[in-house]
């Protein structure tokens, strides 16, 4: 378990660094694919099998294909003038380290999970063994269509608006309009 976590976490970290540090856009996109797939492995470790599958299908499948397609269409070559040792990159690196420490400290501060955990309200009813016995997708679906029905419906509206917006934005306008 810990070994798999180490490998996947390291790959996810390296992929994230590759996205920001690559000079070429296509290499950034490929690093992002590495990051997404490693995150899917981490989701599997966290007993979220359905979300791991969704991560692979939606992100590594649809979103990244769209990214690579746009990169190939626009071919925005080596337009970046950023060098890894440039001042803004150094400042960015320092900011990333500080930011990581601050967020990590805040999220871990006073939160301990386990039999004697101090999380407010204690543990919920969805223990991983129970969820897996009932079925991961079944449990998620039941929650989605009962407790979270309104957000679910709003999400469908959001997808509709996004589709309409994309069609409108990519419509060819006549000159002079």
């Amino acid at each position: 378990m810990t070994v798999i976590f180490g490998i996947a976490a390291g790959l996810a970290f390296l992929g994230a660094l590759g996205v920001v540090l690559s000079q070429r856009t296509l290499y950034s996109a490929l690093s992002l694919v590495v990051n997404m797939v490693s995150l899917a492995v981490l989701f599997l470790l966290l007993d979220a099998q359905f979300l791991a599958a969704v991560q692979i299908i939606v992100y590594a499948g649809a979103v990244m294909v769209l990214f690579v397609f746009i990169i190939a269409l626009l071919s925005p070559g080596a337009e970046e003038r950023v060098r890894p040792l440039e001042l803004r990159m150094l400042l960015g690196g320092v900011a990333a380290v500080v930011f990581t420490l601050v967020i990590g400290r805040l999220t871990l501060n006073g939160i301990t999970v386990g039999p004697r955990g101090r999380l407010h309200g204690g543990l919920g009813p969805f223990a991983p063994t129970l969820v897996n016995a009932h079925g991961q997708v079944q449990t998620l679906g039941e929650q989605l269509f009962t407790t979270y029905l309104l957000p679910f419906e709003v999400t469908s509206l959001l997808l509709l608006v996004a589709a309409v917006g994309a069609v409108y934005l990519s419509k060819r306008r006549r000159v002079g309009q």
């Binding site: 337009e79 991983p128 979270y148 996004a162 589709a163």
Partner: protein
């Protein structure tokens, strides 16, 4: 298993920070979008981690919503980028700082 809980959260914080710095430092709008995806994924990792270790389902449900939001954001964003490209301007955020039209 409970021993990996801080590891997941620290990794999530690190990925989010790298994404945030990517948004601030890079000038290529495509890379900026990828950095935003990175941040959304880091948030997803934190949500699922908490869902797993607090034995609740809300984190997973909201991670699903975050994925839907990210997908629609990418669609609109890439349509905007192609629009900017088609109008003949260079894809450089420093030069696109005035969104005038």
């Amino acid at each position: 298993m409970s021993g990996m809980f801080p590891g997941f959260l620290i990794l999530s914080a690190a990925l989010f920070s790298i994404g945030a710095v990517g948004v601030l430092v890079r000038r290529n709008p495509l890379v900026v979008f990828m950095s935003i995806e990175l941040m959304l994924n880091a948030a997803n990792l934190a949500l699922i981690t908490y869902a797993r270790y607090t034995h609740t389902m809300a984190g997973q449900v909201f991670a699903l919503f975050v994925i839907a939001v990210a997908a629609s954001e990418v669609v609109v964003g890439l349509a905007l980028i192609t629009g900017v490209y088609r109008s003949g301007r260079r894809l450089d955020l420093d030069e696109l700082s005035e969104m005038s039209e």
